[in-house]
């Protein structure tokens, strides 16, 4: 009996210690609680060692100790004299975030991908940014002053019910969907086409993402490969519009045809993976792997540490351009101006060139920030990938020019040569190419739109059918 009493006492003690912790959220009333939800491992968490420290050409040394969220709280208090508490949480997929929100979780600021931003916009969840946030004359507006002109034009061109995406979302990271491959096994030419995935030569040696939309993009590119790479198509004046509408087609015939292609791919590939792709590439189990550019950078870096030399390709038919962006949620902000100001300031804070560099270094993805007046972003790209004659000779590579004007100046001014990195030739197939694609790639890139309900259900059903077991295989012949 004594033991039972002791046990009960212990449990009570535990309850007593845990209860106050649960009540921690109730800060004093003048503190703004900013609820942010972002992708897992998608922001710098500080704690860099000296080895990590980045020294830019202008003498800036980046070696943060605290996480971005913590530093933002401090920065905001010093600047506005207002306490902010960041409640930071993460999600694993866009659908998970959407589910959490529709099931009643409230966030002030979230960072979903382009199609989910469009979905949230259509359904009226998003609080547009204020006039103050858009004001380019204020130097503290790091986002509008620092965002790449190219990315800004992408955001301006995407419209939902007549409203441009740029009113509701501020970009965070962007990139392409491509193929990481092992050049010892797969030639550059083979990796330059989506039909690598269905190639007999690499049967059971390629993994692709276990994701409806990514697989659909690969499938529909293969379906239309002859059409969209014909010179009549690529030379047409409205090439980009036609490419976009071809690859965003969700009519029944198209989806059925893509389903057939994906069924073939399912039998041909090693696996549909969610996170094993990087490791399987690094251990050499597979020779090619469909991957997002940021993960590709990470994979290439990891493999390099093990003396394995991998490359990244952006297929010639077309490339899926994706981005993630910050959106304020109406049901979180609830018209609270102070809170909205804090949320917008957070977006500006992560858009400061230094912080953008921190995030890029930490997660391997590419920030939408080009820096505006500051050229730190270019310095960082040069720090990572730049090379001179001596270095090129040592690496036995040619030294080549890698122009990035389109990103820093916009596609209209992309021939000034002002923003060019001198790099070794291999980087045009490797990390630099994954992180900052060339303008050719941009020219054949397509943003996968948010499909309407019917189209969305159709591709989801197609994907489920592809993954289900086909009885015809057993009884059909």
């Amino acid at each position: 009996m004594k033991r039972i009493k002791a046990l009960i006492a212990c449990m009570l003690l535990m309850a007593v210690t845990i209860l106050p912790l649960a009540g921690c959220g109730a800060e004093d009333s003048d503190t703004i609680v900013l609820r942010i939800s972002n992708w897992e491992e998608y922001i710098d968490e500080g704690g860099w060692t000296e080895e990590d420290a980045i020294e830019l050409e202008d003498g800036t040394v980046i070696q943060p100790e605290k996480s971005i969220a913590e530093e933002f709280e401090q920065w905001y208090f010093e600047k506005f004299g207002q306490k902010v508490k960041v409640e930071y949480s993460t999600f694993g997929t866009n659908e998970e975030l959407y589910n959490q929100m529709t099931l009643g979780d409230q966030y002030d600021l979230v960072c979903p991908s382009e199609y989910m931003i469009m979905k949230l916009m259509t359904e009226g969840y998003i609080q547009p940014f204020s006039q103050e946030f858009m004001d380019t004359s204020n130097p503290d507006n790091y986002y509008v002053n620092g965002v790449s002109p190219y990315i800004r034009s992408v955001f301006d061109d995407l419209k939902i019910n007549g409203q441009a995406l740029s009113n509701c979302a501020a970009g965070y990271m962007w990139g392409t969907l491509g193929i990481v491959y092992n050049p010892d096994e797969v030639t550059e030419e083979e990796a330059a086409h989506w039909n690598l995935l269905s190639s007999d030569k690499f049967r059971k040696q390629i993994t692709i993402k276990d994701s409806v939309r990514d697989a659909f993009f690969a499938g529909i590119s293969i379906l239309n490969e002859n059409q969209i790479s014909s010179s009549a198509f690529t030379n047409a004046a409205d090439y980009r519009d036609r490419l976009s509408s071809t690859l965003n087609d969700t009519s029944k015939e198209t989806v059925d045809a893509v389903g057939d292609i994906l069924s073939g791919i399912k039998d041909n590939v090693y696996s549909f993976e969610t996170d094993s792709g990087k490791a399987d590439m690094a251990t050499g189990k597979v020779v090619a792997n469909m991957q997002w550019s940021g993960d590709a950078v990470y994979t290439l870096n990891e493999a390099e540490a093990d003396d394995l030399y991998l490359c990244y390709s952006a297929p010639e038919e077309s490339v899926n351009l994706w981005f993630d962006g910050w959106c304020m949620m109406k049901n979180g902000i609830q018209g609270d101006e102070k809170k909205q100001q804090a949320a917008e300031s957070f977006v500006n804070y992560v858009s400061m060139p230094e912080n953008a560099i921190r995030n890029m270094y930490y997660i391997g993805y590419t920030s939408v920030i080009s820096g505006g007046e500051s050229d730190q972003i270019l310095q960082y790209a040069d720090y990572c990938y730049g090379a001179d004659e001596a270095e090129a000779e040592e690496a036995r590579e040619k030294l080549v020019e890698y122009p990035l004007d389109y990103f820093f100046l916009g596609r209209k001014n992309s021939e000034t040569g002002e923003y060019t990195i001198m790099t070794t030739e291999d980087q045009t197939r490797r990390q630099l190419f994954a992180q900052y694609p060339t303008e050719d790639v941009i020219n054949r890139s397509v943003v996968m739109a948010y499909f309407n309900k019917e189209g969305n259900e159709r591709i989801n059903q197609m994907w489920t059918d592809v993954r289900c077991f086909d009885l015809n295989k057993v009884f059909g012949f």
Partner: protein
Amino acid sequence: MISVNAKRCQHRSGADHEVIIYENRMETKVKKSYFSRKQLMIPYAVFLCFFVVLPLFVVLYYAFTNGDGNVSIHNFVRFFQNSKAIGTLVYSLAVALLTTLFCLLLAYPAAYFMAKGVFRKNHTFLMLFVLPMWINFTLRITAMKEILSLVEGNLAMHPFLNTIICMVYDFLPFMILPLYNTIVRLDDSLLEAAHDLGATKRQTFFKVVLPLSIPGIISGITMVFLPSMTNYVVLDMVYNSTYIMGSLIGSYFSAYDWHNGSVISIILLVIILLITLISDKFTGQSANERQGGAIL
């Protein structure tokens, strides 16, 4: 109950003074016992309500409604009209049947020899069979994958075979334990009687041991068959890209389609109920005891 016990003691013990001692002990115990047995059931009953009964109603609600909140059996009709979904049902059944069959074939002799045969009451041996249960199954499958890739090379070449091998490996202890428990409880005198009456060893096994161990077989089957229809983690791990029923539910839920996901759950539930009902026929009296364990 306690007073009844005290009375029993009185009957057994001849001497009066002993009874008094017993009763004293009992009385002190009564005073110190704060909870009646019924009250002790409350925590579990609450748990059952919130985490078993309530979710079941939620699943039922979603399965029989459509997106607009109207009652509908459209989702069920659609499932049975979709040849691909039926394909996955058949595929899951095939995986589960083969897993159960191989588990049974491997486990029965093992359980028999540990209970009655050469390894009789050999605890080390029993331990060896139970030991894998102490290790998380994903770790075990990872280890199994390494062994398989040594033998097969590229694992993705034989996804179905690898699925069955890993499932059998995963679920084997769940088949051995109920079988062992049933066979070890068989009265040796029954075997001796069979022998005395002239039955050969073979006849004794088929006419006495096997029929009497059927409850163990049934409970082993229910413990292996049902989970192996839904354990899609194993399939993911061995690079089998084909959905089974469990992954189908997961795919619908992650596409925030609660309705179709719930329909599949209900279909699985019905299959479970059918199997339990059929196995009741075999086991007769002990059915009630076993059922609880099987469903859990």
